[in-house]
C-alpha cells in the first residue's frame, strides 16, 4: 500500500484507530449474513453425516433403525470395495498430480519464452479447463478413445500398431488421462503467473554470471516456483479427491470396481443402494482425508495473508 504522505494526502492513517469499538460494532451487519449461512452450511450437514454414520438407516427398509454403534464403520472397513476405492482414489490423485505439475512446470517455462503467436497458443492450451466435466469425458471416451472409430485408434493403425481398447483394457488410466487433460491448464496458468512474477534483474544477473538454461531452471526458477507448486498440489488434491462426473458418464465405476473411487463408492451406497448409514460412514472417511490436505493448504495460504 502506498503511504498517504507519498500521495500528498493529509495523513489520516491514525483515523481508523480513533473509534475502534464503534467501527467493529457497526460492521457486524455486513459480515453476519455470510458468516451465518456458511456456518449453517458447514455444521448442519456435517452433524447429520456423523449422526447417520452411527445409526441403521436404509431408505428402502423403514423397519430398520436404531443405534448402530461402530457397525457401519466395521462393515465398511472390512469391505474390500472400500480399499479398492481408496487405492483408486490415491492412484487417480497421484498420477494426475505428477502429470499436471510435471508437464505444467515445463510448459510454464516454455510459455514464458517469447515466440510468434504465443498469446493465441496459450489460449488454446488453457481451453480444456473451461470445458464442463461431462463434455470432456464423453468427447474423450467416444471421439478420441473409441477402439474402432476413435481418432487414437486411427493414429495407432496408421503407425502400424493394434488399436488399444482404452476403457476395457486400461480403464483407470483412461480416466487419469481425461482428468489430467482438464487440470494441466490450471497448473500451467498458476505456474506461468508465478514465473512471470520472478524478478527480471535476478535472471539477468544469473545470465551475466554465465548460467545456462538448465542451471537457470534448477537454481533460479524451480526454487522460486516452490510455493506455487505447493498451492497447485493442494488445490488440485481437494478437487481430485472427489472426481465424480467423469467416472459416472464413462465407466460408472467399472469394469467391476476398476474405476470406482471413494466419491463414486459413496454415491453408489447412498443413491443406488439407499444405505444411508454406510454411505455416511464413507463420507466421514472422505472428510477426514480432505481435512488432512486442507490443514496444510490453509497454513500455506495463511502465511501469505500476513503481508
Amino acid at each position: 500500500m502506498p503511504s498517504s504522505a507519498a500521495l500528498g494526502v493529509a495523513p489520516t492513517a491514525n483515523a481508523p484507530a480513533r473509534r475502534p469499538a464503534r467501527r467493529s460494532l457497526s460492521t457486524l451487519p455486513f459480515l453476519a449474513p455470510s458468516v451465518i449461512v456458511l456456518l449453517l452450511w458447514m455444521i448442519v450437514p456435517l452433524a447429520m453425516t456423523l449422526h447417520f454414520s452411527f445409526i441403521r438407516y436404509n431408505l428402502l427398509n423403514p423397519a430398520l433403525g436404531g443405534f448402530a454403534g461402530w457397525s457401519n464403520y466395521e462393515f465398511l472397513l472390512t469391505d474390500p470395495a472400500l480399499w479398492t476405492a481408496l487405492a483408486n482414489t490415491l492412484l487417480l490423485v497421484g498420477w494426475v498430480l505428477v502429470i499436471t505439475v510435471g508437464l505444467g512446470t515445463l510448459l510454464a517455462v516454455l510459455f514464458d519464452q517469447d515466440f510468434p503467436g504465443r498469446g493465441i497458443a496459450r489460449l488454446l492450451v488453457i481451453a480444456p479447463f473451461f470445458v464442463m466435466p461431462t463434455v470432456s469425458a464423453l468427447i474423450w471416451k467416444n471421439l478420441m478413445m473409441h477402439p474402432i472409430n476413435g481418432v487414437m485408434a486411427f493414429v495407432s493403425r496408421s503407425l502400424g500398431f493394434t488399436p488399444v481398447d482404452w476403457f476395457a483394457e486400461f480403464p483407470l488410466t483412461s480416466v487419469i488421462i481425461i482428468v489430467a487433460w482438464q487440470w494441466l491448464p490450471f497448473a500451467l496458468l498458476i505456474l506461468l503467473t508465478a514465473i512471470q512474477s520472478l524478478d527480471h534483474e535476478q535472471r539477468e544477473a544469473a545470465r551475466m554470471d554465465g548460467a545456462g538454461p538448465v542451471s537457470m531452471f534448477v537454481f533460479i526458477i524451480l526454487p522460486h516456483l516452490g510455493r506455487a507448486i505447493g498451492v497447485v498440489v493442494m488445490i488440485e488434491t481437494i478437487f481430485l479427491l472427489t472426481v465424480f462426473a467423469e467416472i459416472l458418464v464413462t465407466t460408472s465405476g467399472g469394469p467391476g470396481l476398476a474405476t470406482t473411487n471413494l466419491a463414486f463408492l459413496i454415491y453408489m451406497r447412498a443413491l443406488l443402494e439407499f444405505d444411508v448409514g454406510g454411505a455416511s460412514a464413507g463420507g466421514v472417511i472422505a472428510i477426514v482425508l480432505a481435512n488432512i490436505v486442507a490443514f496444510f493448504l490453509v497454513r500455506a495460504i495463511a502465511r501469505n495473508l500476513a503481508t
Binding site: P2, L7, T12, P29, F30, P33, S34, V35, V37, L38, M48, F52, L110, Q113, D114, F115, P116, R118, I120, V125, I126, A127, P128, F129, F130, V131, M132, P133, T134, V135, S136, I139, N142, M144, V151, F154, S158, L184, F186, S197, A228, V231, L241, F244, A245, L248, V249, A263, Y267, V276, A279, I287, L289, A290, L297, V298, A300, I301, N304, L305
Partner: protein
C-alpha cells in the same frame, strides 16, 4: 535478446503443445457439423459436406433450450446471490479489520475444503424433505454456498487495493459505512466485482456433482443434459458434438477473457 534459432524452437514446441491440447475440442467442433455417418467414418474425415442438421435436431428433439435455460438461470442467480452476500462481508473485512478478520477469512476458506461427497447424503435428504430436490432454487442455494468463500476472498483482495484515502475523505464528510460502501467503494470496485462474477459464472456453469445428483427432469442444467448422451444404445457422435459445442462455447469465451482473475480466485490470492 534470444537468438532466432531458439525462437523457432520455442514456437514449434509451443504450437505443437497448443494444437495437441486443443485437438479434442477442435475435433468435437468439426464432428458437430458432420452427418452421423461421417462422424464415425474410419479413417476419420477431415473434409466433408458440412451440415447444420445436428444443431436443428438437438434443438427440436432433445428440448435443448429448457436445459440451457436452466443453466443460465441457475448460474446467474447463484452468482448474483453470492456476490450480494460477499460484497458487504469483504468490505467489512478489508476496511475495518479486527483481530478476528484473519481467522474469519481462513475459516471461510476451510468450508470450501469440505468434500461434497462427504455431505451428499444429508443434503440429498434435506432437499427431498423440503421439496427442493430437482428444483432450480435448490441448486441456486447450493451454488451460492459453495462459491461464497471464493467470492469473499477475491473481493477482499480487490478491495484491499482500493486506496483507503478516498474512503477516508468520504468519512470526513460524514458518510456512514453504508453510504461509504454504496457511493464510494462500489463505483471504484466495479472491475473487481465484474471479474469475480465472471469466475463464479464459469464455476456454476460447469459444476457437475450437485447438478447430476440433485436434479432429474425439471431443473437439470446442461451438464446433466450432456450426461444423458452416455447411454450405450447407439452412437450419436454428431449430435453429442453439436450439443457439447453449444454447451461449452459461451463459457469458453468468458474463460479466455478471465485468465488472470482465475489465478487469483482459485488460489485464494496465494499466487498473483
Amino acid at each position: 535478446m534470444q537468438s532466432t534459432r531458439s525462437r523457432i524452437v520455442h514456437a514449434a514446441l509451443g504450437w505443437t503443445v497448443a494444437l495437441v491440447m486443443f485437438f479434442p475440442i477442435f475435433w468435437m467442433l468439426l464432428t458437430g457439423f458432420k452427418t452421423e455417418m461421417d462422424a464415425i467414418a474410419t479413417p476419420p474425415t477431415l473434409f466433408f459436406a458440412p451440415t447444420l442438421e445436428n444443431y436443428a435436431e438437438v434443438h427440436q428433439r432433445a428440448d435443448y433450450l429448457r436445459f440451457a435455460g436452466n443453466s443460465v438461470v441457475i448460474s446467474f442467480a447463484g452468482t448474483a446471490l453470492a456476490i450480494a452476500l460477499a460484497v458487504p462481508a469483504a468490505y467489512a473485512m478489508a476496511f475495518f479489520p479486527t483481530k478476528r478478520t484473519r481467522s474469519t477469512l481462513l475459516w471461510m476458506l476451510s468450508t470450501k475444503m469440505l468434500p461434497p461427497v462427504g455431505v451428499l447424503v444429508p443434503i440429498y435428504l434435506l432437499a427431498r424433505d423440503s421439496g427442493l430436490l430437482d428444483t432450480r432454487t435448490g441448486l441456486v442455494i447450493i451454488y451460492t454456498l459453495i462459491n461464497l468463500p471464493i467470492a469473499v476472498w477475491m473481493l477482499y483482495t480487490f478491495f484491499k487495493e482500493v486506496p483507503h484515502e478516498i474512503l477516508e475523505a468520504g468519512r470526513m464528510d460524514g458518510a456512514g459505512p453504508r453510504q461509504e460502501l454504496v457511493h464510494l467503494l462500489l463505483p471504484l470496485a466495479v472491475p473487481g466485482i465484474a471479474s469475480t462474477a465472471l469466475l463464479l459464472l464459469i464455476l456454476c456453469w460447469n459444476e457437475a456433482f450437485w447438478s447430476l445428483n440433485l436434479t432429474a427432469a425439471n431443473a437439470a442444467p446442461l451438464t446433466a443434459f450432456i450426461a444423458s448422451f452416455s447411454s450405450p444404445e447407439g452412437l450419436f457422435w454428431a449430435k453429442l458434438s453439436a450439443a457439447s459445442t453449444m454447451a461449452i462455447a459461451p463459457i469458453l469465451v468468458l474463460g479466455w477473457f478471465s485468465q488472470r482473475q482465475l489465478v487469483r480466485g482459485l488460489t485464494f490470492g496465494a499466487v498473483k
